[in-house]
Each structure stands twice: as C-alpha cells, then as structure tokens.
C-alpha cells in the first residue's frame, strides 16, 4: 500500500541553521503518528515541506504517493494541515471562512460537510460570528475545521493543543481519534508527551534535524527500565549503605531510581534490619517523558 507520508533524505538549511539533516520517515495509511522533539528540532520545517510552505534543499516528500513539489495539486488535496500559530482572517465569519476554504479546493456545494464539522467541533452556534470575536479555543477549532473542509485522507496537526483548555483538548482528541478510526492518517506534533503516549501508535523523535528514534510507542516505552519509588520513612536519615542512592525530597520523602525490582526489595530489607518503618510508598512506571529525556540526553 502507498504510504500516506513518505519523506526521504530531506535536508533544509536556513542561513546558519541546518533545520533538517537527512530525515527519512514512512508513515502508513491509517496510522496515528507522533513527531516529537525539542523546540528547533525541525518538526515544523518538516511539516512545512509536506504542506508546500517550505521547499527542501534536497530529498523528497510524498503525500499518498504524490510528490509535494511536482504533483502539488494532488498532494495538497490529500493533506489537511492545522498550523501551529493561532491565525484567522478577521474579515470573515466562521461559515464564510469555511466556505471560502472549501472553494480553494474546488468544492462548490460543501455546506453539508461544513455543518457536520462545525457540529463536531462545537462551532455551530458561532457560525455567523466574525472570527475576530472568537475565543482562543474557538479559533483553534476553526483552524481544525478549515483543515478538514476537503476531507483530506492525511491530517497534520502541529501542536494543536498548545494553550487549549481541558474540555477542548478532550473533545478535539475524541474527534481526531474518530477520524483516525475512520481511516484518516494523523501526524501529530506536540510537547505534551502524555498525549502522544496515549494517542500515537508510532513515534519519531527529532533532534537537531535528525531522526534519533522511530518506533512503536510500546517499543519506545520499553527502551528505558528506569523505575522510580518515592518513600516516606519514620527516620531522619536513611541507612548508611543507601545514602548515595536515596535522594532526599523537599517534603521529607526519599526518591530512588532503579532498574530491577530486586534492588527495591533489598532496600526494604535493609530498612527493616535498621528498624526503620515505611510509612508510605509510591511507584512510578517509566513514561514517554522519561524515554524522551533519556534519548535526547544520549544522542
């Protein structure tokens, strides 16, 4: 099957910065794919090249098999992009904005679908409002709606939940997940790693314009076996043998990082021998944030 997105050996330089330094990724149709990386890693540059907003210096990119430069009409028809910046055209109301955007894609009678998107994104009651008078969250919804007017099989969301309240975040993800279940391919960039962990089947991590990790979310989570336990004990000091390992927290608790549960077992045994009672203990499993931090440090 043709990949929904294929980029190979993409390179892009902006004056002194190598924004992309040979990036290759294939994203299959129907995937929910996460693109993670610190600021300046090249995520937005990559998305801009896919969208035709930026031209690569070398390499090539395809959407549903259509080259983004040579077959830009087909590739852009197959792609819906929710830009990172909260942009809007203050001359128009919500419905006009969506009708005009449909028109750009050559769609004449699109009101049925426009009504449906507005309904799902809770925009219907704001249809006749000027975009300028919408709240930040509503403007974000409108951007999502604009990206969907032409029913693109591939949807790119560039940090769609930055500065968005919990309600909108939930309803947005419910809607996007539904689109994904219906067969749309989703490419997501976000700084909220718990969102990526919960939603994305596969994740690529970018650093300084290079792919430093690309795997299923499940495999990535297994890359690190750093567990963490937080303890509260009825003594002022930890046993001498553990003083290097246990880190004192500001609230009087102690933290320990370990990779094998046997280590925790021997700590508990030593505490018992020393006559120290454990008042409270919390275990934290490794999450994507740990993996991300670990990979960014190592590479």
């Amino acid at each position: 099957m043709t990949p929904a997105i294929r980029v190979s050996e993409l390179r892009k330089r902006f004056r002194t910065t190598q924004a992309l330094d040979g990036v290759s990724i294939d994203i299959q149709q129907g995937e929910f794919f996460g693109l993670l990386g610190p600021n300046g890693a090249g995520k937005t540059t990559l998305i801009s090249i896919l969208a035709g907003l930026t031209r690569a210096d070398a390499g090539h990119a395809e959407i549903m098999g259509h080259d983004v430069v040579r077959d830009y009409r087909q590739s852009r028809r197959a792609l819906g992009v929710v830009p990172q910046e909260l942009v809007y055209d203050p001359f128009f109301n919500v419905r006009e904005t969506l009708r005009i955007q449909s028109g750009y894609f050559g769609l004449k009678h699109n009101d049925g679908w426009i009504d449906e998107i507005m309904h799902h994104l809770d925009l219907a009651q704001h249809a006749d409002k000027n975009t300028q008078s919408l709240s930040g969250g509503m403007k974000r919804r409108l951007l999502v709606a604009q990206a969907l007017v032409h029913k693109p099989p591939v949807i790119v969301l560039d940090e769609p939940t930055a500065g968005v309240d919990v309600d909108l975040r939930r309803s947005l993800w419910a809607f996007i997940s539904r689109l994904n279940r219906e067969g749309h391919t989703i490419l997501l960039t976000t700084h909220y790693l718990e969102e990526a962990e919960a939603l994305c089947g596969r994740i690529a991590m970018l650093k300084s314009g290079r792919v430093v990790a690309c795997d299923t979310t499940r495999n990535l989570l297994q890359l690190t076996n750093e567990h963490c336990a937080q303890l509260r004990i009825d003594a002022a000091a930890a046993p001498a043998a553990w003083q290097g390992r246990l880190q004192a927290g500001a609230d009087g608790s102690w933290r320990i990082n370990f990779s094998e549960y046997a280590e925790l077992e021997s700590l508990l045994a030593d505490l018992r021998v020393a006559g120290i009672r454990v008042i409270e203990m919390q275990l934290q499993e490794p999450d994507l944030e740990d993996v991300f931090t670990d990979i960014m440090k190592r590479t």
């Binding site: 087909q74 852009r76 001359f91 005009i100 028109g103 750009y104 894609f105």
Partner: protein, 251 residues
C-alpha cells in the same frame, strides 16, 4: 467554484466589507481635490482650447483614484495576510501561482474600476457631461488598474512590514501618479521635465485616459496604449516569476 474563483470572491468580499474605507473614502478625497483645484484654477487656466480646467481635471482625478486603489487592494490584502499569518490559508490549498496572480489582480482591477466609476459619478455634479470615447476609456482604465494591481502584488509580497509598504506607496506610487499630469498638462513644464514625464509610464495612462474624455492629449494615444501594454506585460512577467519561485511566500 474553482480555486481561482474562490480566491477572487474572497478578495472581492474583503474590500466590499470595508467599503467605507476602500470605496467611499477615495471618492471623497478625489472630490476634495476637484473642489479645491477647480475653484482656484478654473478661471485662470485653459489647458486645451475650448476645454474648461474642471473638464481637464476630472479624467486625471478618476485615473489617479483608480491607480492608487488598484495598488492598495492587492498590496494591503497581501501584507495584512502576511502580518496576521492567514496567508497560509491560501498557500496550503492546491492553487497555482497563475490562479493566485489572476485572483489578486482581478479584485484589484474591480476595486480600481469601482472607485473610478464612483469618482466619475460624483464629479458629474461639477463638470459638464461629455460622452467619453468608450473604447479608449475602457482600454486605459483596465490597463491602468491591471498594472497597478500587479505592482501591488509585488509590493505586498516584498514588504515585510507595514512600514515598508508605506514607503513603497509614498515614495514611488504617489509621486508617479502626482507627477504625471493629473493637475496640469506636461506642455506647461520646462523641456527637461517634459522629457522626464515621457519616461513615466503613468503619464501615458493619464494622458490617454483624458483623451477618451476631452479628445486632446499631450502624446499620441496609440503610443500610450503601446507603452501601457508593454508595462503590463513586463510587470506581469516579473510578478509571475516571483510567484512561481515562491519569493518571500514559500521559504
């Protein structure tokens, strides 16, 4: 609706929604020029035999308004979209650079013509009705709006700040239009400045457009038509090359 017609419609709707600023204001400005200049000069100047100064001035004012408003339409629409970031709405869809050009140009021409018509209609209160030569009138009006609409596209793409666009407008467009015989015949100028005026394409636009109304001109209207057409072809070619390359739009 094809992409082209949608973008054209959006551009039309944009200026129509703020028509007090985009249509009414320039008509009032032109009217003020007419009131002041015709009041001061009507009794003193007869540029062409048998043509009153007011009748001489009206076509110049109509043309000046068309030139400035056609330029304003494309340039301010583009700079606003760039500054606000909503230019992406136009860059993400499958619009070709030719469609982009034609839509912005078409709306600029319409705005120029609407303002020109408005100025002409209000000046009918002050100047006697003369049946213009429709062929010359339309040819010059369309070419003038198209040239300025295309220059407006280039300026709107090139400018990165409102400040730069204002400089373009105040130091290039305004002098070009003011110094091309809107208020006077270039025959009243010293020989050197007559020569300079002949190198200004806007002079031919005003001169030829005036010919359509009063039947007199400083140079041959056919020559003017040739110069204006050549200008339009050249500026369109430059604009299309810039758009195709994605100059300052697609980085």
């Amino acid at each position: 609706m094809s992409g082209l017609s949608a973008l054209f419609y959006k551009e039309m709707l944009r200026f129509w929604k703020v028509m007090v600023q985009t249509v009414v204001a320039p008509v009032v400005t032109a009217l003020l020029y007419l009131l002041i200049f015709s009041h001061v000069l009507e009794a003193h100047i007869e540029v062409y035999p048998g043509v009153s100064y007011t009748s001489f001035l009206v076509p110049g004012l109509v043309m000046m308004s068309m030139l400035q408003n056609a330029f304003s339409n494309s340039s301010s629409s583009l700079i606003q979209s760039k500054m606000q970031g909503n230019i992406v709405f136009v860059l993400l869809p499958p619009l070709s650079y030719l469609e982009f050009f034609l839509a912005y140009l078409g709306a600029a021409v319409i705005r120029g013509l609407v303002v020109g018509l408005g100025v002409w209609l209000v000046t009918l209160w002050f100047a006697p009705w003369q049946a213009p030569h429709l062929g010359w009138l339309l040819a010059y009006a369309l070419l003038a709006c198209a040239i300025m609409g295309a220059i407006g596209i280039v300026a709107g793409i090139w400018a990165e700040k409102y400040d730069q666009l204002a400089a373009f407008q105040n130091f290039l467009i305004l002098p070009l239009t003011f110094l091309s015989g809107v208020f006077y015949s270039i025959h009243s100028l010293p020989a050197f400045w007559q020569g300079v005026s002949h190198a200004n394409p806007v002079f031919y636009l005003i001169d030829g457009f005036r010919y359509a109304f009063v039947g007199h001109s400083d140079s041959d209207p056919w020559l003017g038509l040739l110069v204006a057409s050549a200008c339009f072809v050249a500026i369109s070619a430059i604009t299309l090359v810039l758009l195709k390359r994605g100059y300052k739009l697609r980085h």
